[in-house]
């Protein structure tokens, strides 16, 4: 996991550069720094619009809709995919 933007302190000074690899040790250090937060690469949200993502799910399950175990998987996957858009 890497930083998508430089991390700055309240004064605007760059504390960590863009693309810095985040390790557990570095995240622990950041807790003690005077910073508001950080932007992380790849976690900004799914690439496809929500409608497209959900209709793709329906298409993939279209031929197996009568199988009860797959119905459970589909329900859980739908919840999961919808959740990806809640924090974007």
């Amino acid at each position: 996991m890497k930083l998508a933007k430089p991390v700055t302190n309240k004064g605007g000074a760059v504390m960590l550069a863009e693309d810095t690899e985040l390790t557990v040790a570095l995240i622990d250090k950041m807790r003690g720094m005077d910073i508001q937060g950080a932007f992380v690469q790849g976690l900004s949200g799914p690439a496809a619009p929500k409608d497209e993502m959900l209709s793709g799910l329906e298409d993939r399950f279209a031929g197996v809709s009568n199988e009860p175990r797959l119905a459970v998987l589909k329900r859980i996957m739908r919840d999961h995919l919808e959740g990806l858009y809640e924090h974007g």
Binding site: G42, L43, G56, R60, G63, R69, M77
Partner: protein, 280 residues
């Protein structure tokens, strides 16, 4: 197209003679000598990788990726081989060596394979499997037969892919129609020829029919379920749009509760995002 049993025998002979194929990348050709040798030692396999800088880079990138459980912690090939063991490293070497071929043969197959490896490892951990990395490698190379078929007869494999798309049938059914066999069968021929352990041969052979597994029942069932989950997520492309048939016995054997299934899917997501950057 039904090529008949004598044609199937010819196809098998052709597949098993893959080492002589002119389109085989040089690194894979050398690698097959290593994979074929059932008595190769840890140090011999380390030396083989370490003598090839490109292969070393690929192996280290892969073992430090989310596909395995050691992100950023493995700095040398010898450390990787000791931690993972010869069998896992053999499968891993094959996986990284067919990366280019996967990219060429079917757009999205590499992502599907990586995703399956990630999910298989998460399930294996959840089930307390002793060597989750071995299950992960099985997920990584479960579709090896697709690459081999494409490599041997690319025109016919492209026809099979078109047939699957046009008729909305599974890629395995399309392969059956075009080759009179499937990627699972072809994968099993080649994995047996290369002396892979049962824990890799059976998931390759039976990931669509896990009930046939006798020597690696749980690993095969996990790869079957991981394949379903990653397809359900829509990550990568395995050659067809729909989910394959589920085997209820295998699903029940893996026995993920709803809570466990939710946890695996939730843990999978950031790892999949990380694998998107994993170009070897």
């Amino acid at each position: 197209m039904n090529t008949g049993s004598s044609n199937l025998t010819k196809l098998r002979a052709r597949i098993e003679n893959i080492n002589s194929l002119p389109t085989i990348p040089a690194v894979l050709e050398r690698l097959l000598g290593v994979i074929d040798n059932p008595r190769i030692s840890l140090s011999e396999i380390s030396d083989f990788i370490a003598n090839d800088p490109a292969l070393t880079t690929r192996v280290l990138r892969m073992v430090n990726s989310p596909v395995y459980g050691f992100p950023g912690r493995i700095s040398s090939v010898s450390q990787a081989v000791v931690l993972l063991g010869v069998n896992v490293v053999k499968g891993l070497l094959l996986g990284v060596s067919v990366f280019d071929l996967m990219q060429k043969s079917m757009v999205g197959l590499w992502e599907h394979s990586l995703g399956c490896a990630v999910v298989a490892r998460l399930i294996a951990k959840e089930k307390g499997v002793k060597e989750p990395e071995e299950v992960s490698v099985a997920g990584l190379i479960h579709d090896l037969g697709k690459v081999i078929l494409y490599l041997q007869i690319p025109d016919r494999y492209e026809r099979a892919m078109e047939l699957a798309e046009r008729n909305k049938i599974s890629i395995a059914q399309a392969e059956q129609d075009c080759f009179d066999t499937t990627h699972a069968q072809v994968g099993s021929w080649i994995a047996a020829k290369w002396n892979f352990p049962t824990a890799l041969i059976e998931p390759i052979s039976y990931h669509h029919r896990p009930q046939l597994s006798k020597g690696a029942t749980l690993t095969t069932a996990i790869v079957h379920v991981a394949d379903l989950i990653i397809r359900a997520r829509g990550f990568g492309f395995a050659g067809d749009r729909g989910l394959p048939l589920i085997n209820p016995v295998a699903w029940d054997l893996v026995g993920l509760s709803e809570d466990s299934l939710r946890m695996v899917i939730s843990e999978m997501e950031p790892l999949l995002l990380d694998t998107e950057e994993l170009t070897l």
